[in-house]
Subunit: 295 residues, 2 copies
Amino acid sequence: MSTSLQPMPPEETVAVVGVGLIGGSLAAALKQRRLARRVIGVGRNRQRLETAHAAGLIDEVSTDLTQAARESQLLVVCTPVDRIVADVRQAAAAMSEGSLITDAGSVKGEICESLADLSAGPVTFIGSHPLAGSEKQGFEHASASLFEQKLCVLTPTAETPPQQLQRLHRFWEQMGMRTCELSAARHDAILAVTSHLPHAVAAALALLLDAEYRPFAASGFRDTTRIAAGDPELWTAIFQQNSPALIAALSRLEGEIASLKRILERRDAASLKNWLRQAKTSRDVLNLVPGKIDD
Amino acid sequence: MSTSLQPMPPEETVAVVGVGLIGGSLAAALKQRRLARRVIGVGRNRQRLETAHAAGLIDEVSTDLTQAARESQLLVVCTPVDRIVADVRQAAAAMSEGSLITDAGSVKGEICESLADLSAGPVTFIGSHPLAGSEKQGFEHASASLFEQKLCVLTPTAETPPQQLQRLHRFWEQMGMRTCELSAARHDAILAVTSHLPHAVAAALALLLDAEYRPFAASGFRDTTRIAAGDPELWTAIFQQNSPALIAALSRLEGEIASLKRILERRDAASLKNWLRQAKTSRDVLNLVPGKIDD
């Protein structure tokens, strides 16, 4: 983890590509914390951008990524994971030497491998994944505090210039985040278990809820399936890009379910209590150390 | 569903057996809404009962179930599901003719079958399951509003006297609940999917979270596993009593997981999006009709 003590001058112009929940919150935090002199919101739908502008999230709007990239020194791609590589390529071609590009994608392997040639500059790409979000979509739910106290994973390569890496750590830290570094492959293996598997399980549970059972779905069912309300388009792209790791995580879950079934079939109360107690212990630890990071 | 328009005189003395989260909340609601002239809290631990009394949840405390039952006209057993039958038997032996006993257990089949001879009176037992709760335990988390706007399932038999059934509907309705009737078997099949399966899945997910993955467990993981923090003793008894229905529900979940894995293995984006979209639709409906009941 990087700890910065020296103050950092604000970035001149930052472009945020994709002004949805994440991009909108990022833009709002940049402005509220005065981390950039100018924030350009880049998107495809001018009307949506104008609304975000009217809401005070961004200083300027642009539907021309190349033009916005040309005017920016730092650019954050917050588009869906299956569009990130193309957006980074287009931006990199327009930005001047020394510029930094990052993203906010939930899967890192495919993206960082495709963009490996941009590791060393002259325009540098470094992968980021701020672990913040919601099942809600759109900048209407954006919040300048979305990232506060949360963790941001950076996925540099061996070729990443140290000063650009340091700049990116500071960028997220000034947003109120803690940062850490992982290889893209390690990130994807972990997030398959901590994020993509819960989403898959929540969706599977939601699918099992027959219409006539709905009145009997109390807070436990609602909490456990809340994230299944996420955008199917976004999650299709995430699941596709991380499918080997997600398949492995699903297989581990199948193993746990199979052992629970065996315990139930032989009506083994001692093993059942032990299984539930271990699960409770594992879950309770999350409350005790809400955001601790040990890397 | 029963709709009562006539006012009901308050019960003379109500005993609440087991003053934990559910029993404590029930007692608090009885007092706040003036639904009983006197509320006796019955438990094994006198010190805990005295604390609940000092907190204003109950009027009197007793560690003698027989004595408390003798003085009560209505008695609600809020002990763990594996103790309910014995507590009801003990209370029934002491109560006078015309008295009503119910419970708050999460599984109904085994309990209602064991107590079938008490259906017709002179002291009547009718099963209840107020669908309200929390992963938290103890009367310290009790709230008089826990039951408001929630659903209570009643499981009468063919022998249940109509006036006692009506009395029980009114009891829960006056607590702010909606009520419905189901057979005990139907209740257990439904709750296996809406409550016991989510708990099992939350526990399985929590077990898969290796210690070094914890810092990467964001709000999605936390919500999806929240109920895994529930009391292992209570849930062991619930799972044991409903194991056939829970095993069937786990098998249905295994089917969904297997089909998701097949979709991921053949990288079938269209089927994946469709699967996620159906799950989202199913989950979104729960938000649109938060407490609708169609029975």
